[in-house]
């Protein structure tokens, strides 16, 4: 079998996930041995047209032009992967969805509005079928490699949709919320990052989106009544990365 052709695309995002992809050094030679990177503008000068076996899409869709491109990419890729928080749930760009009308959001950013054609920011599965998700801001390289292997084997990747708390406790971290009173979102956020932030003494910001059966409303109450956050602070926490998801929306609306 010929090596599978892989493509990497970018929409509205900071390009951090692509950069993380370039940090793959430890696995780079093995991955290059297993796949053919056909299209990756950030990494190579010579890029090839589709079709591709696996397409990785970074970024949220925030304009009609991006939407047309996304639909073309979907047709060209056998397996389509949403790469990173923006492509999975709308990510940081989706903050604008909760800041008034689209026009109001545009006015806050641009002075010349005549050429601005923007739409609310959604993850790419709002528009096209997505086969797999690499969560996080940025993605986790271990999960990336696991996903490539699973796609080559034709099986579902072994991702853990459990809470970040699970990975955090396995590392025997002192709990930032219970023991330090910090508003950590690990209990309702999907694991897979190895509890990276809490392990570095930083509360989880929820970048990987909701864990399965996340009870954000209950955590929002704790933030409000026990940690003394303001209503706006609690709302902002749940809308920051995955406010488009019904689970985190419940957290924002619970206060």
């Amino acid at each position: 079998m010929a090596k599978p052709r892989i493509a990497v695309f970018k929409f509205s995002s900071c390009a951090g996930c692509q950069l993380e992809l370039l940090n793959i050094e430890d696995h780079l030679l093995d991955v290059l041995g297993a796949v053919d990177i056909a299209y990756f503008v950030m990494a190579k000068r010579e890029n090839h047209e589709g079709p591709y076996d696996i397409g990785f899409v970074e970024g949220a869709v925030t304009s009609p032009k991006e939407l047309l491109e996304l639909k073309k990419i979907r047709e060209e890729c056998k397996v389509l992967v949403a790469m990173g928080a923006c492509a999975c749930t709308g990510g940081l760009p989706s903050i604008k969805n909760f800041a008034g009308t689209q026009r109001q959001a545009e006015e806050r950013v641009y002075t010349e509005l005549w050429d601005i054609k923007s739409i609310p920011a959604y993850g790419i599965d709002y528009y096209v079928k997505v086969d797999a998700y690499l969560r996080g801001c940025p993605i986790d390289i271990g999960e990336m490699v696991e996903l490539i292997k699973s796609a080559l084997l034709g099986v579902n990747p072994h991702f853990r949709p459990h809470s970040v708390c699970n990975e955090c406790k396995l590392k025997e971290n002192v709990c930032l919320l219970v023991n330090k009173g910090k508003p950590c979102m690990g209990s309702v956020t999907a694991a897979g990052c190895g509890a990276l932030c809490p392990s570095l003494n930083r509360p989880c910001e929820g970048c990987r989106g909701p864990a399965n059966d996340a009870n954000a409303a209950s955590l929002a109450q704790t933030f409000l009544t026990e940690l003394g956050l303001t209503r706006d602070d609690v709302r902002r926490k749940f809308l920051k990365y995955a406010g488009n998801t019904p689970e985190f929306r419940k957290g924002a609306e619970a206060v």
Partner: protein
């Protein structure tokens, strides 16, 4: 009780002596909390600790552990990390008792070689509690503040020295050179422990706890907890008696070689009870909370010879963001209980099986024949590569094997042949998950891994001299086919035999080429039905769900055993229909085989109430399971 004293001033020398022969682990400070970690010298030890983040369970049942490595299907190397001699220093009574409970899980049926090796190589120096911890309620279960078993040495702080009790020959050796405890020392020890006991105010009234919970399966408290609980699984992760885990294969980029590790898992997680086709048996958070509390406070002792499933260490309370507390839950139920009713507690039969080699390591088996049954279902004929293994292989109708495709994983699949055939065995498999889809790509001559046989099969002995009614739906006919073959070969030992078989369409029926043969078995009737007939397909039999055949059948409740397997919704209506026709729950046998995972009563995935489907079943008498706290059908 043989007892010595260890002056605190001599602790350093004592630990240094241990270090000569053992790796020493004990409580150390981590930020504002404590964890069990390596001890370089006695100064590292924090014997004033209250509790640790993770229990010492982590030294025996590892959070992540490789069961074996593989290279393709041919090379399988038993793994398990090398275990040196180690000492756990300063283990509190709750955690010592938790290990005694875990021993029942991992050293009972199919002893786990990795856990066993570590247990045998570890010396436990316990530390009785002279001050209660904030959230502990150990005295409720008699698992603290003092320990009376499970240690090699047990220390009690009596001021300037420790009283050192001896609990084993190894402990006695380590105590060599210590001065004997005086009568005053022992009085001081008892005083200190009694004083601590009196200060423990948090308590679960453990009297008839199992009955209380079983009577309150439905209680407003569970719905209240559902609103509170974050489903983060921290309570189970830090629990010293939780044993559940998941097993997955991981390959390297060659896609051929890799390893099969097990990783701690939790019944608090949404996908814990997920099976093929993405069905989840416990999707409701309230049901999962109930499972945890019931397992800790009731099921565990039903499952493992009265061992406590909760030792009152209080970790789940201390680490819960919402402060969900078993003491408070039980008190709330006791304060406002449902009206009493009689409850029948299921008591499993404890088996002890000790295989020669690791129960995790599959035997290699070769695919001898492949026979398509329907569009997505195939019968594979296997034989073990090792002729001696094949020769010795025997099984009861209705039991199952774990089939491995190395690099993809394992799946439990019932055996569809009868053990009367000696040189091979069959599995009839529908391609619906990772393993079964990978199997569908294999060819005759390819190798797979097989562990088994496991479980309890159909009651072919009890059925002797009686009439048999067999009701199958779809793929459910596969585990019933061995019974048909078994009865066919022993026809004179059974009465009338009726087979009712339903499938979605005529093209979804299995073993159609055997129907004529089955019809020729004396005193046997075969009735067929399908849900619908697609245009252009010929069908001369019944149309409708399988229960519509009940009006045609001759079987009556008298002297009849009924066995059924199929989708749970089908079995539910079959059971209801037969009860309405006068069959008793004692006459009805069902198979719950979809729920199994490890096959050897270790991973916990298949639990329904106190039942382990993989070992207590998959075939159950309906009377035994109809009152389980988790309604089945």
């Amino acid at each position: 009780m043989e007892a010595f004293v260890l002056p605190k001033a001599e602790l350093g020398g004592f630990v240094a002596k241990l270090k000569a022969d053992y790796e020493v682990f004990g409580p150390v400070a981590k930020d504002t909390e404590f964890v069990f970690g390596p001890i370089a010298a006695a100064e590292d030890l924090r014997l004033d600790y209250d509790t640790t983040i993770l229990p010492p369970k982590k030294y025996f049942h590892r959070p992540v552990e490789t069961l074996f490595k593989f290279d393709g299907a041919v090379e399988i190397a038993g793994e398990g990390e090398k275990v040196g001699k180690q000492v756990l220093f300063g283990v509190h009574p709750c955690d010592v008792n938790a290990l005694l409970s875990l021993d029942k899980v991992f050293l009972g049926t199919y002893p786990d070689p990795y856990y066993k090796a570590r247990r045998e190589n570890t010396v436990i120096i316990g530390l009785n509690c002279v001050a209660p911890c904030e959230n502990g309620f150990c005295s409720s279960f008699n698992t603290g503040p003092a320990m009376d078993a499970g240690f090699d040495l047990a220390l009690t702080d009596i001021g300037d020295r420790y009283v050192v009790e001896v609990g084993s020959a190894a402990g006695k050796e380590l105590a060599a050179g210590l001065a004997a405890a005086s009568a005053d020392d022992l009085i001081a020890r008892n005083k200190a422990l009694r004083a601590c006991q009196q200060k423990i105010t948090r308590r679960i009234d453990a009297e008839n706890l199992g009955e209380l919970l079983h009577q309150n399966v439905e209680h407003p408290k569970w719905e209240e907890l559902k609103e509170e609980c974050l489903a983060c699984g921290t309570c189970t992760t830090v629990c010293p008696t939780c044993f559940c885990f998941g097993v997955k294969d991981y390959v390297d980029l060659t896609l051929k070689s890799g390893e099969r590790p097990r990783t701690w898992d939790s019944c608090m997680f949404y996908e814990f009870s997920r099976v093929a086709l993405d069905h989840i048996f416990r999707p409701d958070r309230a049901a999962r909370i109930k499972q945890r509390i019931f397992h800790k406070l009731a099921y565990f002792s039903q499952q493992f010879e009265g061992s406590p499933g909760c030792v009152g260490c209080g970790r789940c309370v201390s680490t819960c963001i919402k402060s969900i507390d078993p003491v408070e839950i039980v008190a709330a139920i006791q304060a406002n209980p449902n009206p009493p009713k009689e409850v029948k507690l299921f008591t499993p039969v404890i088996k002890k099986i000790t295989p020669e080699k690791s129960p995790w390591e599959p035997q290699k088996a070769v695919i001898k024949a492949i026979k398509p049954q329907t569009k997505d279902t195939t019968t594979y004929t296997f034989a073990f590569v090792d002729a001696k293994v094949q020769e010795a292989y025997t099984y009861d109708p209705g039991v199952f094997n774990m089939i491995s495709i190395f690099g993809i994983g394992e799946a439990p699949i019932s055996i569809s042949s009868c053990a009367d055939v000696k040189d091979s065995f069959d599995h009839t498999i529908r391609a619906v998950g990772n393993v079964t889809n990978a199997l569908a790509k294999l060819q005759v001559g390819d190798i797979v891994g097989i562990r088994g046989p496991y479980g309890v099969g159909w009651p072919v002995e009890e059925m002797k001299g009686k009439n048999v009614l067999l009701v199958a739906g779809g793929i459910g006919l596969a585990p019933l086919r061995p019974v048909i073959k078994y009865i066919q070969a022993r026809r004179d030992q059974y009465g009338d035999f009726e087979i009712l078989y339903g499938a979605r369409t005529p093209n979804d029926m299995l073993f159609t080429d055997e129907f004529e043969e089955w019809r020729k078995i004396p005193n046997t009737r075969l009735y067929l039905t399908v849900d619908y007939v697609p245009p252009g397909v010929e069908w001369g039999h019944n149309i409708g769900v399988v229960t519509t055949l009940f009006d045609k059948m001759a079987s009556r409740p008298e002297n009849t055993i009924m066995i059924t397997c199929g989708p749970e919704i089908m079995m539910k209506f079959v059971v209801r229909g037969l009860l309405a026709r006068g069959f008793s729950p004692e006459q009805i046998y069902v198979s719950l085989e979809r729920r199994m995972s490890c096959g050897i009563k270790k991973c916990g995935n298949c639990q329904i109430g106190p039942v382990f489907v993989c070992q207590d079943g998959p075939v159950f008498k309906y009377a035994d399971i109809k009152d389980l706290p988790e309604e089945i059908f």
